[in-house]
Symmetry: C2
Subunit: 378 residues, 2 copies
Amino acid sequence: MQLWDGHSSWPSSSRRPIGTLAIGDRRTLLGLVVNPDIWFGEAYTAGRLQVQGNLERVLEAVYRLSTPIPSWRERLRAQLAPANTRSSARHNVHRHYDLGNDFYRLWLDEEMVYTCAYFPGPASSLDDAQRYKHDQVCRKLRLRPGESVLEAGSGWGALALHMARQHGVSVTAYNVSHEQVVYARERAAREGLTDRVTFIEDDYRSARGHFDAFVSVGMLEHVGRRRLHELGDVLRRTLRRDGGRGLLHFIGRDAPRPLNAWIRRRIFPGAYPPTLAEVTAHILTPSGMSVLDVENLRLHYAHTLSHWSRRFEAVSDQVRTAYGERFRRAWELYLAGSEASFATGWLQLFQVVFAPAESAPPFWTRAELYTKGPGPPP
Amino acid sequence: MQLWDGHSSWPSSSRRPIGTLAIGDRRTLLGLVVNPDIWFGEAYTAGRLQVQGNLERVLEAVYRLSTPIPSWRERLRAQLAPANTRSSARHNVHRHYDLGNDFYRLWLDEEMVYTCAYFPGPASSLDDAQRYKHDQVCRKLRLRPGESVLEAGSGWGALALHMARQHGVSVTAYNVSHEQVVYARERAAREGLTDRVTFIEDDYRSARGHFDAFVSVGMLEHVGRRRLHELGDVLRRTLRRDGGRGLLHFIGRDAPRPLNAWIRRRIFPGAYPPTLAEVTAHILTPSGMSVLDVENLRLHYAHTLSHWSRRFEAVSDQVRTAYGERFRRAWELYLAGSEASFATGWLQLFQVVFAPAESAPPFWTRAELYTKGPGPPP
């Protein structure tokens, strides 16, 4: 750690230092002591805190020094997290996802997928890993041609289109981000899939009808702790009791604690990563669902974020020119900090498959998720 | 339904009846109205209630008529379930497992495995399915030669011996059933594995030392709701923080509710099948563990129980001669009722893989659980 006046302190351990934290002024140092969660992000963004060395590895080291068991203060804050109404949900989503498709196109994969990928091997490409993730989601759901699927939170539409194209299902997809829905509808038209995929610009809680399958990838984090039961209501109302099944893919925690305060302020307002116990007790059990399968993909998210960071760095000049240096530094920190969180186990990524308790599970063993080749051709 | 005086009632639906419940006297009919959970079992055992047709299918139909969502009364009873102290745990286990090795040998598989099997396909034999289960448990734990494993509740020793023989690990196995430990030690000696497998006749809560892996198959059901945290204490104390991992295989529930009252009275005193939320919130989260993988094997348990019922029926004359007709009928009902519970989703069978939050998960994808051949040769 290096201070503005030249003073520096090194860890006493004999290990080789990972990097240097250069603190630019006394106010920043005080802020880091009093409220490190907010100040680290704010000072880094403003350039009053500089990191020499690998940012992600420095953040990992910081996380590893901290305890993964939350304090009572954090648990209380998690309990008190505000509930996301429909209008606050729309506002929160707008803040993040309507930054502009052009921004995300700069550094996401070709299909514009902004959720954890599933890498068949550590050396797979990001494009392959996103496709493999979509295919695994469909396999875990055992989608059959002609079935109907409800999707809650559909991003730029890649999964909905994949399901319709590769598995022959019809998809009704809800999303409150206007920019994303416009983009997804254009893609559906271009691919000739408008008869099978309907993108609806509305809150998923408006969904009506009956569906064979439910899927939500990367939306549950935005529901908020006190609104989890509303997803249960949707499941109970819309999922077929005989033979229905669903999949939730979400950023989660081992123990209840709020998301990092700076991330909530600057990047994801209203976000809360729930625990597996919260998801089963508040969503699945009240709606009469049995958990069939859970897979923790946290290392895959660390790997995904590492890909995104490299791609983001490669376009840093363009980002700086279009959005400014503070914005660029905030996103650089957010991507590196998220990677460190998943690498150290501060955050988890759960894929949960479930079905109404009275439905027979859709698979006998999980072997066919892996032993058969990739999904059927279009 | 047919009464002692010749009166009978048929369901009004046009479906073909599955079987006949013949009620022998007025007292039994009243008991079934007032307290069906206890009276069904007691009357069936005493022969005052007869079932014509397939017992398991009749019980399934009864379960399907009931709601899988527990009443507040049941939830309260689940909350008030007594805590199992060491002495009550020993007593409860003695009641069930020390019935005599000869009894279980009559109808279990050749390895004497009394937990849910994992059938690679529905047509696999019970022996193959128990071996496959043991192999899958070892694969999910990624056991490597030379590692140390703590087993809580080791039955007649089949899994401990399998791990040592097939995967080259050393096993310390706790079991409070005297008859089972004697049998398991004899097997270890016969197979020349006494240097690698130690069977300890003691409560698993006495375990000391540090281990690479923890495994418990079919023991958690006997811990009782209010003692779940003690398993967390054992995990925190004994599992290596860097690279340790564990597996819990247990009968569970979607929602908290007590086990059927008759089963608790006559078959499994002190038993409580926990929910996934209870296991994560009371055992894994407080001990700093991350859930890595969950698989629900309830159809495999229905299938296992169907095998056991057929084998039990094949030796019914021997059972009647040695233990009496009431005992035989009680076990017949218990096996059929359990099969119906798993078939209808009243009971679940969860296999949960976990690791200390700071450990890297032991696998990248689950593909190698399925794509590589069976375990390494001895």
